[in-house]
């Protein structure tokens, strides 16, 4: 059984695709999401085999969503669009799956057959922008889009990944790995990332450890393993 998630901001579009997929006994739709933030959460928790992804969505587009997914746990993506010449050209150039709305039954069947043969993800990440500009976060049960350059540091703990700006912290579904690669943050600890621009001072401690003091007065730990890389970065030997 192939597990699928549908991501589209229009209810009728989700319903239509769900109805079409329901006719195939080998596919099970486990979630329908109305935006990229819901989708990020569902994809991270349900680990679907395939995601049917609309490109044009509010705040965070389908392409941006791809950039936020953990590259090591990437599901197979089937893009869905009504009309987007440039995107369609990119899909064709890269031989990626895509469907055009309104979705035609025979075309969908072809896609599903291919999925049943091979569910391995395609390298769709190359379509996504190399840098993220906004990071979807939760704070007090509300969705917030935090601008990437406002993040001072990020850390992971048992409850998940958190990002901290100068005056607040929020929970996010993005893995540290993605933030490190795409949000301009630097690894300083197995569980911590720091934005180099906000470092005020690095206080060296015993046993090769250190602490970073940010300009806004926050303290971030530095582990032995990453201290050297950090020193190299600022030209200390």
């Amino acid at each position: 059984m192939i597990q699928a998630i549908i991501v589209d901001d229009e209810r009728y579009a989700r319903e239509e695709l769900e109805a079409l997929l329901a006719q195939d006994g080998d596919i099970r739709v486990t979630a329908c999401c109305a935006n990229a933030i819901e989708a990020l959460k569902e994809i991270n928790s349900r680990h679907p085999d395939v995601v049917f992804l609309d490109i044009q969505m509010p705040q965070i587009s389908g392409m941006e969503l791809i950039g936020m997914l953990d590259p090591d746990a990437m599901p197979r993506i089937v893009f869905v669009t009504a009309y987007d010449e440039y995107a369609v050209k990119a899909f064709e150039d890269n031989a990626f799956d895509y469907l055009l709305k309104p979705i035609e039954r025979p075309r969908l069947n072809k896609t599903l057959e291919r999925l049943k043969r091979d569910c391995a993800p395609q390298p769709v990440a190359r379509l996504a922008a190399p840098q993220l500009t906004q990071i979807p976060c939760y704070r007090h049960n509300r969705i917030r889009l935090v601008r990437a350059e406002e993040i001072e540091y990020a850390y992971s703990e048992l409850s998940g990944v958190h990002v901290a700006t100068a005056d607040e912290t929020a929970h996010t579904h993005l893995p540290l790995k993605v933030l490190e690669q795409k949000a301009g943050l630097l690894r300083c600890h197995r569980q911590y990332l720091i934005r180099p621009e906000v470092i005020h001072e690095i206080q060296l401690l015993e046993q090769g450890l250190a602490e970073i003091h940010t300009r806004s007065g926050q303290v971030v730990p530095v582990s032995r393993r990453y201290l050297k890389a950090l020193k190299d970065r600022f030209g200390f030997r």
């Binding site: 229009e10 579009a13 319903e15 705040q59 055009l100 309104p102």
Partner: protein, 558 residues
């Protein structure tokens, strides 16, 4: 008495020479009272010549010369000022001195003094701002009369022996006073007449040129073709009174009016070698009919004998020619040559600007078509997808939406006119909104608050729809929930203001793609109603975007 007549006779010959001279181009600088150096030099040379001539035209008597030398000195002074007057007098005086006689020194001094006196009159008049009076024959008469009295006095004072001088003065005073004063007045009259003639000539020329320009401009606005060029050729033909006028493009004759109409037929290919040469080399070709005769290449019997061919300039190339002809029995007038050149450059610039206008309009039309074509795919496929989903559950609603969709597209295709009413615009928008509201469901609400009195307001077709589409595409679709678009209208001092507001606040002036539709709406309004009207935008990020369309009140007449 005999002497008076004799001297007047001499003066007449002198004036005939002056008259003939006044008809030459050399005379032209003299008619203006000028302060510039080259003019003054000409005045000095000319009147020194007349001054010396006056001595030669004099009558020998009693070892002296009764003469009209003073005319040159006085006119030189009056027209040229104190310095020129002095120099003219000095030149004439030195020449007289070289001829000898017992009054040689007295005459040299007095002639110089006469020139200076007239120059002082000039200086005085200019200071008083009465430049025009310098050309008055009366002033010349009085100046010359006084100058001659002064000369007589100087002869009495300087010439020796005094007895002989007194006897001389008694004889020559009356004829010289009369001849010089009268001659100066007549000479000045000639100068004035000549000046009046030049002025009349140039004002007639300017009037003619302006009239042609005005009439041609309005015709050329309708394009450069056989019909318009025929009318232009007619105007040029009537204004210049040449034998014939022709206008060609690069290949063929467009219009021909005048002598030879029977065989110079519009629409035929250019046959004349001169015309082809003018087009190829982009230069004016003139065959005056005397040194270089013109022979019509179409007919041996053609009466035309001289021609002026002037190329018409387009963007980077010659786009045609205008040709003026005169028949063999008539000379090609210089004024027509000048006028022809002027008309050609006027035509060239007119053709350029009307072409530019045309291209500008085409561009706006093309851009509009592009926008119409552009809005459709996104909207169409999303609409079809929505409808195909709804069909499963509520076939009736789906049918309804299909009808709205077909209504919207039919209107899109039908609306070819430039201007429509606000009611028509709202009708068009309503179908569009019905579909978008079905697609976005509760994420989109629309308020239309427009007074029925404004339904007859006239505005360019496709003004409202692109703006509302932008509000949805770039505004509402970026919101997770509770999108709202308000369409309203109000009358202002300047006219009527339409306002489309969304609550997304997502407008970015540099966002690529969305500027095009708005830009065209703005351009069309400005084209139709002027720069004061058009589209403006305000945006409060993450709160609202407001697009305002200002239109004139007079657009409301049904």
């Amino acid at each position: 008495m005999e002497l008076i007549l004799a001297l007047l006779q001499q003066m007449s010959v002198y004036l005939v020479i002056a008259y003939l001279f006044s008809k030459t181009p050399l005379f032209k600088p003299l008619v203006g009272v000028s302060v510039r150096f080259p003019h003054k030099l000409v005045i000095y040379l000319v009147f020194s010549g007349f001054c010396i001539m006056g001595t030669y035209f004099g009558l020998q008597l009693q070892d002296a010369i009764a003469n009209t030398r003073a005319i040159g000195a006085v006119l030189g002074g009056l027209l040229g000022g104190p310095v020129v007057g002095f120099l003219v007098g000095l030149t004439g005086g030195l020449h007289r001195y070289s001829l000898g006689g017992f009054t040689d020194l007295a005459c040299a001094i007095s002639t110089t003094a006469e020139g200076l006196l007239a120059g002082l009159v000039h200086f005085h008049m200019v200071r008083k701002g009465q430049v025009e009076r310098l050309l008055s024959p009366g002033v010349a008469f009085v100046t010359a009369f006084v100058a001659e009295l002064m000369q007589m006095a100087i002869i009495l004072l300087v010439a020796k022996p005094v007895g002989q001088a007194w006897a001389l003065v008694q004889v020559i005073a009356p004829p010289m006073l009369l001849a010089n004063a009268g001659g100066a007045a007549l000479f000045m009259n000639m100068v004035r007449d000549q000046k009046a003639m030049y002025e009349k000539y140039s004002s007639a020329f300017s009037t003619k040129a302006l009239q042609i320009a005005e009439r041609i401009t309005s015709i050329l606005a309708q394009g450069f073709n056989e019909r318009t060029t025929a009318r232009i050729a007619r105007i040029v033909y009537e204004a210049t009174e040449v034998g014939a006028v022709a206008i060609t493009d690069r290949e063929k004759l467009l219009a021909f009016i005048g002598i030879g109409e029977d065989h110079h037929l519009p629409g035929t290919r250019i046959a004349s070698a001169q015309t082809l040469r003018a087009i190829d080399s982009n230069e004016v070709i003139f065959l005056d009919g005397i040194e270089e005769p013109y022979q019509c290449s179409l007919s041996q019997d053609c009466k035309l004998g001289s021609t002026l061919v002037i190329p018409l300039q387009g963007d980077n190339e010659v786009i045609g020619t205008i040709k003026l002809y005169e028949p063999k029995k008539k000379l090609f007038r210089n004024i027509n040559r000048t006028l022809g050149n002027g008309i050609a450059s006027l035509l060239s610039s007119q053709i350029l600007s009307s072409r530019y206008e045309q291209q500008k309009n085409l561009l706006v039309q093309a851009e509009l078509k592009l926008v119409q074509a552009q809005i459709n795919p996104h909207f169409l496929f999303n609409a079809l997808n929505t409808i195909s989903a709804i069909i499963r559950r509520r076939p009736e609603q789906a049918r309804d939406l299909l009808l709205h969709l077909s209504h919207f597209f039919r209107k899109n295709l039908k609306r070819t006119g430039d201007v429509s009413t606000l009611a028509e615009e709202l009708d068009h928008v309503r179908s569009y909104l019905k579909i978008e509201m079905a697609r976005f469901e509760d994420r989109l609400a629309v308020d239309v608050d427009i007074d029925e009195n404004l339904y007859n307001l006239r505005l360019p077709t496709f003004t409202l729809q692109p703006i509302i589409e932008n509000a949805i595409k770039h505004g509402i679709s970026t919101l997770f929930e509770n999108g709202r678009v308000c369409v309203s209208a109000r009358t202002t001092d300047a006219g009527v203001e339409l306002c489309v507001e969304d609550n997304a606040g997502n407008y970015r002036p540099d966002a690529n793609g969305d500027g095009l539709g708005m830009g065209i709406v703005d351009k069309r309004i400005k084209n139709l109603y002027g720069e004061r009207f058009g589209v403006s935008m305000e945006c409060q990020p993450e709160a609202w975007t407001r697009v305002k369309v200002s239109l004139p009140k007079q657009g409301m007449t049904p």
